[in-house]
Structures are given as C-alpha cells and as structure tokens.
Amino acid sequence: MKSKLLMIIKIGWLSIWRNKRRTLISLFSILIGTGIPTFFVCIAWGFYAGLVDDVARLMAGHVTYEHVNYRNSPSNDLWVDDIQVINKSLNNNDEVLLTKQIVNLQGVAHTAKGSVGISLMGIEPSKEITISYLPESIVEGEYLSEGDGRWVIVGSKLAESLNVNVGKKFVFTTNDIKGELIEELFRVKGIFKTGSKEIDGHFVQSDIDIARMVAGLSSNDVSQLGIIVKNPDTHERFLQEMQKTLAKKNGVFLSWQQIMPDVATTIRMDRTAISSIMVLLVVIVLFTMFSTILMSTLERRREFASLLAIGTQPIELKLQIFIETILFGLIACPLGSLLGVGIAKWTEGYDMMDVVGGKAEDMTVGGFGMDTIITPLFSIPLILQISIFFFLAVQLLSILPIYLISRISITDVLRST
C-alpha cells in the first residue's frame, strides 16, 4: 500500500513536469495568489501596528489605569487611590516596559490673537523622551525637561492659531478639581509638528508638576497611568491579569481600544475594507488557478483514458490528480509567501507618499497622524495563515477536475482522437 502510494506520488511528480509550460503557469498563478495578499497584509498590518504603538506611547499607553468613571466624564476630580503603589508594582512587572503618569486638563488657550480649545497633558519629560515620538517632532525650540514649570510645548497649528512662537506666552483657562475656573500663564518652550491636524492644532504638553498645581491635585495624584507593555499583542491578557490583581475598587484597567475608540474603529474599518478587497482579489486569483488546474487535467483526458483502459483503478487516478495539486500547493504557496515577504521587505523604508502622492498630514487615523514610512510587519502566524489558506483552496479547486476524470468514458475519449 505504502509502495503503491509512493509510486503514485512519483507518477504525479513526473507528470507535472512533463509539460513544463503548463506547470509553470499553474505554479505562477498560485504563487501570485499567495504573494499579493501576503505583501498587502505585511504592509497594512505594519502601518496599524506602528500607528497603535505611536499613539499608545504618545497618549495613555497600550493599557491605561484610571478612575472607573473617568471614561464617561473625564473630569479632573476623578483620580484613583494608591496610584503610586500600583505604579511601583507595575514597574516591577516583567511584561511592562514603562509606565507614564499623566494629568489631563481640558480648557482654552488665549492670546491677544484669539482663543483655541486645547488638551493639556502633564507628563514626566525624562520618561517621555524615551518612549514618545513627540520629542523628535520638535521643529522649533526644545522639548521639555524636568522642572520646566510654566514652559510647555505646543503644536505647529496651535502656535499659528494663537500667533505664538518660542518664548511667547498664552493664558490657559480650565477647571480645577473643585470645579472652580482657573487661569494660568504658560510660555512656549518648543513647537512640534506631527502631521496630525488634531495633535498639532489642539495638543499641549507640560511638566506634570505644573499640571497638578493647576488642577489642584496633590503630588501623588494622576488622571491616568499609562502602561507601555513590551509585547502589545498580549496586552488584553495582561489587562485581565492586572484588573484581577492590582485594580482598586474605584480604578479600572482599559485597553488602548477603549481609551481611543476612534483609532480602534478606524483601524477596524480599514482592515475590513482591505479584507474585502483581498476577498475580491482572492476570488479572481482562485478563478485563474481553477482554470489552469482544470485545463491541465482536461487536456490529459486521453492519457487518463489510456491508463484506465490498461487496468489502472479510478481511485488511483483521482489520487494522482489530488497529489499533483498538493505538489503544486507545496511548491507555490511557500514561494508565494516568500515573494510577498520579499517585496514587502524591499519596500521597507520607502515613503508611501512618494508612491500614492498627496500630503503626509492628510494621512490620519482617528485624528492621529500616520507615519508614512513603510514599516512592514512580518507576523509569522499571519503569513502562515495566508499560505495555508491558499494551499487548502488549491486542494478544493481540484475537486471538480477529479470529479470530471471519474466520469470519463474510456471508449468515447479513445475513439475521439
């Protein structure tokens, strides 16, 4: 039985190389079919991963700890108990890269030119330099350092709207934790440009101490504790664990998807759109593959009829065709994956705007600017999934040719030529 199977495999192998052109066409269609989706997925998923990481590092981390009611009403008087104990515990966790203490204040920035609604984020500058891309986005002046007091960094569009530049002042109006209206003077230390209209137009960063002072918080209180994890892919599991072990009664651990639903929804929609296009592409490619497999089978009808006439069992013929498609899949699918990965690797570092045209600042997701430099994500499970999908699809495509061969009429076929 085993030797018979080996013989059929050998016949199948020899058979596919008898007509090299036909075989190469079939292999090429499977290879392209596997390669194109692999390429697109590597590029698109790379953009999403980069975006999520950038946004998480800029805002409140991959996982955020905050007051249980803060999401519904981000008020300054909602902070959590024992934040420093939780912070210390998180910093001792192997899965945590870094934590960032944040004080968020919503209010209005005024100058003689006018007023703009802003979001002021008080952060620890020394940590922010190591995790966020904002310090690298400074185009004028300098980034913050510890103890900067009233010095802040503002976005380029905000600076334009308020008509301020480095060294100039603006007045910030907000509510403190008692709900009282507070006005404070700030001075511009640096101006950043990220390409995002929202961030550049309405975002301000200051040292956390001055933000606490403005809000009326004590030196241990924060609005949010952002957690940057080493492996963002496992943040959901990490979140569940922390919620069980660390969270206080009035605190909750949330994922970046819950903190930034706009970004999560946009990515989900974008992924759905890309997947839909992929499905269309896959249908077209599978149809081409089906045609080549069917043709390569049907043009050998006389050969199969002869084999059946000399006593070959129909099941052996069916098995041979099935093995031929398995061999096609085994050769072309891994090569297709390699092709997709290779092209994606080749495009790494290119600016996408050079290819698609337009302005980098127009590339925003949920109000956050995207890095337009291509940085593919080579996720082995994802690449394997695509490859296995196409391998199985090819096997399914061989069902009809096998069925047609099983219905072959030996006499009709042999007489017809």
Binding site: G107, T111, A112, S115, T174, G179, L181, L185
Partner: protein, 258 residues
Amino acid sequence: MLDQFSTMMRLTIIATCVLFKVFLSSFAFASNLNPEKILDSVDDLYRSNTSYGTLTLSVTTTNWQRTLTLEQWSKGDDRHLIRVLKPKKEKGLTTLRVDNNVWNYMPKVKRVVKIPSSMMASSWMGSHFTNDDLVKQSRMVKDYTFSITYEGEREEKNIVEISCYPKKDAAVVWGKVEVIVYRDDFIPLHIIYYDEDLQLSRTLNFTNIQMMSGKMMPTQMSMIPVDEPGESTAIQWKKIQFDLPINDDFFSLRNLQQ
C-alpha cells in the same frame, strides 16, 4: 587763577544744567497723581456695592448687525445677572455669574447651562466680548506694573496716560495696556490693548460722559478689534443706579430661571 576759576564755574554750570536736564527728563511726568488710584477708579467705574441698570448692546460685524436691550444687576465684584429684554426672540435669555462660574438660561428650552472652561473663549451673546471677559475679576494694579507715561494736552484734552505691563506670571494675554483718562476726574477715555509683540490689538473707547445716579461716567463703551476691520461692539448705558439693597439670594440659579 581767575581763568581757572571761570573754567570751573563754567563746568559747574554745564554739569548742573546736564544734571537738571537728566533730572527733568527722568521725572518728566512725575506729579502728585497716583497711578494706582487712577487704575482703581477705572476698574471701579461701573462697580459699586450693588448696581442695577439697563443698557443696549450693539454688535456690528461684516455680515450682520444686531442690538440687544439688557437689564443687569451686580453685587460686589463677583455677582452679576444679565437678562435680555429685547428683541422678543431672545427675551428672557439670562446670564448669571457667581465668582468664577457662569450659567446661561435659555427660556425657549427652559434649560440652564453651566458654561464650562472650554466655552470661556466663546463669544458672549455674539459680541466681541467672551464669556471669559465676563468672569474676569482681575484688577489692573494686581496684574500689572504701571507708571504714568504722559500727562498733559492731547487732542485738546487734558489727559493722563498710564502704561501697564503685565507682571511676570500674571495670567494676562496682553503685552501692554495703555489707560488714558481725563486728568481732572480720572474718567477713562481709551483703554488700548497691545499684544506681546506690542502690536495694537484692540481699543476700548469711552464716550458720552453723563451724570448717572450721582456719578459722572461715560455712558457709551465701544470695543474695536484691530484684526477684524469694520467690526465693533458698543454698550450704551440707558440707566444705572448704585447701592440698591440686593440680597445675595438674588444671584441664584432659581432666580436665573424666573
């Protein structure tokens, strides 16, 4: 010897003249006027223990113009109630300010809305004043360093000009404010606001000085922004009474809705 004496005398006279000149230029505007008192009088122009009055607010923009008739009550620096009397469409629209908080009552929907900090920059009643202008309780003497920079005749008026520069950490958007008042009674003529680059930003003009409730005061104020040519907001006081008995309870959310 005589020559030496005469040279010394000449030098002494020159030195005295130079010193006198320096002294004169340094104290060119020195007088017995107290700038702090002048600024306080400008700040307290329409303030008293209590006040009640009616006024019109005329807003002119490049696209539209409208006039509101308002009724206002105040107590101290921190309690104000302003109610729209005309036009009919907006009658009953009321703004209450207590300390740093501002509420608006909208009679059409019978709702009271507290103005959050994010709305402080929004225009008040569509004028060139913002909600923030309403809640500001700052006094110039507290937020600025100041000095008299001119005293004398200008445009046939005997005036005093006080230049105010914001203190280092004062929450003030201006780079400089010039307060120009009549020398005799300190009634303001103009308050001129400059930005941080000392570029003219807006001018508040005071005109039509009349005796009201036993007090001489300009009954018309007009705010003219520089960066919006052709636009202005004018306030015309029709009636004002000071030191009427008004309870603190009057400035309540309950009264806001009446």
